[in-house]
């Protein structure tokens, strides 16, 4: 199978298997990421209470931990859910929103990575650089025109942390420390809607639930999502109609139309 066919087949599996994705996520994107998860044919559950997160994680086929609006209670819930998932062999996808912005976030991200086995780490270049100890160079890493440095950083962090790293941006990079893949699908309007990164994380988690290989799952998810964004932008008047069209397109995009549109490069 070529990449296009692989993407379409994983998207089809999500549709058929309807994996349950347990989210412990932030207040800004709770509604959006639940709707994105539904639009792609998976099943979301959002549950935060210490009293139930371990039970809920064990019911799921993938767990998303997103630290966008952290509090102490939420961190505790993430650790409980993550450990339950780890013990049950359920994949955990971690989105370290804002790592590097405040000491509390950086510290919390490091604690989660230390105490849990993370299957896939999804962030933007700054966040991943901060976690990987490239923090002093965050601005440089973020800067346009340095894609080669971002790609190398992704591979290095994946190797150091022994996980799959997916960094989203104008070009997305995915690596497990050995393989390094670039996805060129996407659209600038994604940066004018809050939670589009968090939505990428949710889609990656749903794909990981139906595909053991984290690199394949992340690559397929990001190409599908990026292509949906391109199609949505073509019929939008601004960021809000873009968001509506993005979810509609995720719901409708499949099969050959999806397979033909993906832009994936093995680096």
């Amino acid at each position: 199978m070529n990449w296009g066919e692989q993407v379409a087949s994983r998207r089809q599996r999500v549709h058929e298997q309807r994996p349950l994705v347990h989210h412990i996520t932030n207040l800004v994107v709770t509604n959006l990421t639940a709707n994105v998860t539904l639009a792609i044919g998976a099943s979301p559950v959002m549950a935060y209470a210490r009293e139930e997160v371990a039970d809920m994680a064990r019911l799921a086929q993938a767990v998303v931990l997103n630290m966008g609006t952290l509090t102490g209670d939420v961190v505790e819930a993430m650790l409980l859910a993550g450990k339950a998932a780890n013990n049950a062999g359920i994949p955990v996808v971690f989105d370290p929103v804002g790592a590097g912005a405040t000491p509390f976030r950086t510290r919390t991200a490091q604690k989660i990575i230390k105490e849990l086995h993370i299957d896939i780490l999804r962030g933007n270049a700054s966040e991943i650089a901060s976690i990987g100890g490239f923090g002093g160079h965050t601005k440089g890493v973020d800067a346009a025109g340095a894609p080669a440095r971002v790609a190398e950083m992704v591979k290095q962090v994946a190797r150091d942390l022994n996980t799959v790293v997916a960094v989203t941006g104008a070009t997305d990079y995915i690596s497990d420390g050995e393989r390094l893949i670039a996805v060129d699908n996407g659209h600038p309007l994604l940066t004018f809607v809050t939670g589009t990164g968090c939505s990428a994380t949710s889609i990656i988690a749903a794909f990981r639930a139906v595909e053991e290989d984290g690199v394949t799952a992340s690559t397929a998810a990001l190409a599908y999502y990026g292509l949906a964004a391109e199609r949505a932008a073509a019929v939008s008047q601004g960021p809000a109609s873009f968001q509506v069209a993005l979810l509609d397109t995720l719901y409708n995009l499949a099969g050959e139309e999806l397979a033909r549109g993906v832009k994936i490069r093995l680096l």
Copy 2:
């Protein structure tokens, strides 16, 4: 008055009386249910703090308690608001989201039902089965092709708990333990948008604020909502444009057009 006229007249009353509906609800649907409440012409207030929920409940014409993203603090707030509403004769509508999924949720739902007088209990078949002690058969109750069993279960739980029960699904069932009514309005796209069940609960609460009889209020609310979903689906490209069209249609649908479209059966 036939059913169509009754539905249209209750919808008109909501529009004229603009009842204040106090919600203690979950993080996923807070924005959506506030917007649904506004779209139908009622007035939402979302308030959670122990320090004020009793005061706020007493200002309202109906109170919604929804346990979608429970924490210990929220349970305490629900009990305070519910007791204040009970003492003031203000109707309480309870949505036991996810009852049966984890022990914490099932236990909390039972606690709320035991400590408060619930005027209307709104859920899907699994949730109501779990609360009513049909929990062992949840899967069977949920299964398509067993509508007669769901209908009987709704009537039985209503009788056992001495409340009005409204179960939503492909067909909605409403019962007070004596009367049993089916509503056939609705559309499958409702299952691809998060919070559409919670939105049904909000509309039921607004209708109950202007109609003493819980069976009539629930039936009218669900027929109106289901018909709006049918009309919205006809002009949508996917789940996100459907959600937009659903709220627009709730805002616009009234009078004869509403009366003619409802599908209500007395069983």
Copy 3:
């Protein structure tokens, strides 16, 4: 420069400087206000934890404190963020949602105003009346047909509290206790979408980040927002398509088209 040119130039500055606006806001509008902030070209960050709010506030060019869904923890976070902003000379915009509705809210609003320096206070007439001690007359102040009384109240509260007050309604009033300005842009559909007042506050904060004078910033923000609402209403079928069109229009509206449409009166 006439008012139209001033509005367009401040909107352009927001677009160019992309100010970071730190929000501590309510659960109902978190997603909407983040998206509004992005749509106008600014950059939102939502962070609530005691452990980081002071750090985050110091990174921002403006801080929004919105008490829509208060809890004790959130109040504490607001005071920490507000003090950090005050010490660093970063403007603080306060939205006292629901002040006057419950004793807890009124008390909290007064505490925040007493302990922090508020650069701009944005609310509806009832909320500002309650804070300014006109509470006994809330209904009267709110009543249509008494715009002159609202205008006087705004000026009086601004003088008493030594801050800029912006009251939104059919006509918006802005005063620093000396100058008094009315903005006639806007549309009734704004009252059918939750969080449109909170969104006004976010836009005011972004404009204040690029314009030292709070009266000019508030006036420009509200005229721009109100004109966007007029344009959006003209292409909407109801409140949900209106919300989508409102954000799209905020994203697109600029330059001469904006300058020509504003309706601002010096009283």
